[in-house]
Subunit: 306 residues, 2 copies
């Protein structure tokens, strides 16, 4: 289908910006639906300017403004949503317009995390996952062609913090380990999430599938991750293990939004929900489909801090 | 109207549990609508057992299960929702059932934070506040009698951390201060939030009003708070001030849910949105209405850590 035209909704978000960069880098005519409040935020305005300089077309509107959505979606072949948690439910508006316009070849709803249908998440994350599941069902009910992108852990956050919340660099004294440290998680650099996502949009092999980012070099248990880091800095860390009971108690005692952090760590590390199932028949693995993508490895990523 | 019967939806949540305790303590027949997933979580099951022992009636169902909602709401005079972020939008179901049942004397939607209509919040908090505003408009459009409870800061989180994210006790070496430290915030212990909330449900003075918790002894700028803590521990802390530009940049660079934390700190501390407006004509102040409530002061609260 040549170089499809892509609309990105949520372009200035944490993941959205990398999807925009990848879309431009891979030569797609790239359109961004931007709210007026976004354009008036100085940090975001700067980002939008850089996208414009790189060739993106800024469209003003939002997923709550039906007319703006129709106009934007009519201009493109592919719609990618990277909206944040408060807008997940509102993606029904996108589905409605895609159905109405009738010419969209692929829709990627805002996922970009764990598989929301294969996990043992507790509240409040369970309900957040359920909102994404509702969107999946709405897409399928309307017969909209889709790809769900399950990225697993953002390296810039989870790997920088060595699988602990709230750190901006790996610790040099002690490591807090959620669960027994043996469950494996997957780490993907944000730029590589953008690259794999855009690779998938025109690919018939990802049509109506979930694209899993299970990059072989980046699958580590927390114990393996800590050992790798210890080797890099030539120092043994003190380890503090939190049992599931302790983590569940912490979740109970922590108000929003801290309880979200803890419940995410529970599903990833205590339950092992990124790797405790085989990739299903309606799923495909990104590094297998795109072996040419030179993604950043966990080993390389951690070296920047050593 | 005597002791009204109260239904609490979100009873095992961080604030919900204190509302339940206050409802029972003030002698209200107390009903809790509980999801099956909640009852199967061991931490939450224990909490539900303690509520039952204190006289609460557990009803099984959820805000997504219409029939269970109708049945529950028919049993009571007052409905209090303390549902978490993923369920805020779904509160339209509660409004619909209240309208249909027709006998509810007061509905308190899940608010329990800053005034969602008077603030300078940035994303992703702006959109989260907007979801609560939509619920307010839906309540008013249906003519459902309401009280909005604006609690400001939960002491157990914001005060324990001395106005910094991620701490469970005030720091003893350095304090990170969001903004110039001169804006005043309001701190309320979670138990007192429960007490004031339940006081309001039968009170004609709070009908169709916002109840603001601006407790005179608990209004502190961050600089005043740090000075009070320094006096208690007899030590001067190093202060690190983050400018608005720095905080906005941090929000941009941090993924969900960390960006929510930072955007909450931005609206409270950098913008001063808990105290930078006069209580409006459709608002009332809790300590003025209920001078008999002996709330825990900031000074008392901080003493436990000194």
């Amino acid at each position: 289908m040549g170089n499809s035209r892509i609309l990105i909704i949520g372009a200035t978000g944490y993941i959205g910006r990398h999807v925009v960069n990848a879309s431009l880098a891979q030569g797609h005519p790239t359109f961004l639906l931007v709210r007026s409040s976004t354009a008036s935020n100085p940090e975001k305005a700067q980002l939008l300017d850089s996208f414009k300089s790189s060739g993106a077309t800024i469209l003003h509107g939002s997923i709550d403004d039906y007319a703006s959505l129709v106009e934007a979606i009519k201009k493109v072949d592919v719609v990618i949503s990277t909206v944040g948690a408060p807008q997940i439910a509102d993606q029904v508006n996108i589905i409605k317009v895609i159905k109405e316009v009738g010419s969209i070849k692929r829709f990627l709803p805002s996922e970009f995390g764990n598989d929301v249908e294969r996990n043992h998440a507790v509240e409040p994350v369970k309900s957040m996952f359920d909102l994404k599941v509702k969107i999946r069902r709405a897409i399928e009910a309307e017969g909209v062609p889709y790809t769900y992108v399950s990225t697993n852990c953002f390296a810039g956050y989870f790997l920088s913090g060595l699988a602990q919340p709230g750190l901006i660099a790996p610790p040099r004294d002690k490591a807090v380990i959620y669960g027994d440290g043996n469950n494996k998680a997957v780490y993907v650099r944000e730029e590589d999430i953008g690259t794999f996502t855009i690779k998938a949009v025109d690919d018939p092999r990802t049509l109506n599938k979930t694209l899993y980012l299970r990059l072989p070099a980046n699958i580590y248990s927390t114990n393996e991750l800590v050992a790798l880091w210890e080797k890099k800095i030539g120092k043994i860390l003190e380890k503090i293990y939190l049992s599931e009971e302790q983590v569940l108690k912490l979740i109970e005692e922590t108000p929003f939004p801290g309880n979200i952090f803890l419940a995410i760590f529970h599903t990833i590390y205590v339950k092992g929900d990124q790797t405790n199932f085989e990739i299903p028949s309606d799923g495909v693995e990104a590094s297998e489909l795109y072996p040419d993508v030179k993604y950043v490895t966990v080993n390389e990523f951690l070296s920047q801090f050593a």
